[in-house]
Amino acid sequence: MTMPGRSGHMTPERIAVAVGFGLLLAWPLLVQDVFWQRIGALVLLSAISASAWNLLGGYAGQVSVGHAVYFGAGAYSSLVVYTDLGWPPIAGAPIGILVSCLLGLVIGTPTFRLRGHYFSMATIAAAELLRILAGNWPLVGAAVGLMGPPTPRSIADLSFISPIPCHYLFLGVLIILLVLTWQMQRSRMGYYLAAIRGGDRGARSLGVPVLRYKVYALLLSATFTSIAGSLYAVMVGFADPDSALGILISVKMVITAALGGAGTLFGPLIGALILVPLEETTNAWFGGSGTGITFIIYGAIILLITRFQPGGMAALWRQILPRGHRRNTVVESANRAA
């Protein structure tokens, strides 16, 4: 549950993390091209939502494929407070969090009774249901959607010409989320979620209040997914049922986390680092996602990791690590050792 290596020692993993964050920090200054600066911000945004999903889907093992509802709640809340109340979009973020948590409780509590595939399907159905409803609800602009401020009225509107401020804002949020995740992972909650992932029945027999902890994970996950949605609305300035509540949003979150390694701290970030530049450059080369090539590639990537390395990049990394740092996997009879 902790990073291998004795504390204080510079393991390859810790070096990689330090270098990685150094790069992320310096990125907008290293690349002068707006295209690449924007990619940096988008990578971080994707990492936030994937890391948020990871709390429920990776650590707790409850694979939700309907997380778009929380993302959409955050995005729409931000744009609704602007459209209807004239507030800066970011002020809608707390409302988005509230709505997301409520949605989470309503959807999550009954669905947590379901096992595996059933749970996933229920989340898909719930998300699709809400997407259709939103498409007919005037408050959120029905099928047309909502837009943010076309020109910034004050700094609070947070719409900048350059992607740089967004980059640092997102980086800050991501770091907070990752620190929280790390703390959680090492605490009783982390162990209990891992136990739930390992098997409800076994966890119960050890006194783990399974439903309660699933709900905790869900609330935390929904909160940060909602924040990601609000940040998205701030940066992009637009949301409609497809871009904010569509199933592809949910699927992207899952793939991003899974590619890097679901249930690991940096997995989602690694996934984002690979997928977002891939998507953006593919769109640029082939002229927009209208041609669908991006998703063929996404699909192909999922197929590859499913078939060959379900643990994602993180598992791949562990296999490459030098022997001394690897976890012992030798099978020994406990009796021989005793």
């Binding site: 891992a194 390992g198 119960r204 027999s205 009879s333 406990a334 009796n335 050792a337 005793a338």
Partner: protein, 233 residues
């Protein structure tokens, strides 16, 4: 306990005094597992009452059971495969020790008590059956139970492994933990338990000291009869 029209367990009574080691035995399909699951909280009896230390726990959930001090192991171990052995035990320890450091100490103590310390960092999924069964017990112990329910924890072991497992159960009893063990391996019952209760077709047909019970004609008939039914086919 009835499953629809089928009575798996019919009017079975069991009293266990603190510190005892009691064995539940009987041929397959005798109802002992169903009875056991009711005791452990994984099934709710359709009639009857279960009391633990003056508390009615008939409808208590498995989590509540653990909190009250009744722990169990599963016949087919439900190991948390992707976690290390130590982490598996820590999950149990967290029940009484909310803080990681305390839980870790408690788990370490259990690991050395059960002889699993050398395997602490091993991935639990790579253990063989004896290791997993031992881990099941260790995890349950980590919840600091007053009563430990073992479901065929010694089945499928070689004679040498069985002897070591019996030793472990004795050590657990010496700590003052009451043990109820479901088993159909006779030598285990004879060498380990102070009292045996025999199930057959959902009823208790004999109870008492293991030696006496084994020679009870009704018990012999139940086992032999069962055996003979198979032979006739």
């Amino acid at each position: 306990m009835a499953f629809g029209a089928f009575r798996a367990v019919d009017r079975a009574n069991l009293e266990v005094a603190e510190g005892e080691i009691v064995g539940l035995i009987g041929p397959n399909g005798a109802g002992k597992s169903t009875f056991f699951n009711c005791l452990a909280g994984d099934a709710t009896p359709t009639a009857g009452v279960i009391r633990f230390a003056d508390r009615d726990v008939t409808r208590a959930t498995p989590e509540e059971h653990a909190r009250l001090g009744m722990a169990r192991s599963f016949q087919v171990p439900v190991t948390f495969e992707d976690m290390s052995v130590a982490d598996n035990v820590m999950v149990g320890a967290f029940l009484r020790h909310p803080h990681r450091r305390d839980a870790r100490h408690a788990a370490a103590e259990i690991l050395s008590f059960t002889g699993l310390a050398p395997l602490a960092e091993t991935r639990a999924g790579s253990l063989g059956t004896p290791g997993r069964k031992r881990l099941e017990i260790a995890r349950a112990l980590a919840t600091e139970p007053r009563l430990l329910l073992l479901d065929e924890a010694l089945a499928g072991l070689t004679p040498a492994e069985t002897r070591l497992a019996i030793e472990l159960v004795r050590k657990i009893s010496e700590r003052g933990i009451t043990i109820v063990i479901v088993e159909h391996v006779m030598e285990v019952i004879l060498s380990l338990t102070e009292r045996a209760v025999v199930f057959h077709q959902g009823r208790v047909i004999a109870a008492g000291a293991p030696r006496d019970v084994v020679e009870d004609p009704a018990v012999v008939a139940a086992y032999l009869g069962h055996h003979m039914k198979r032979v006739r086919r």
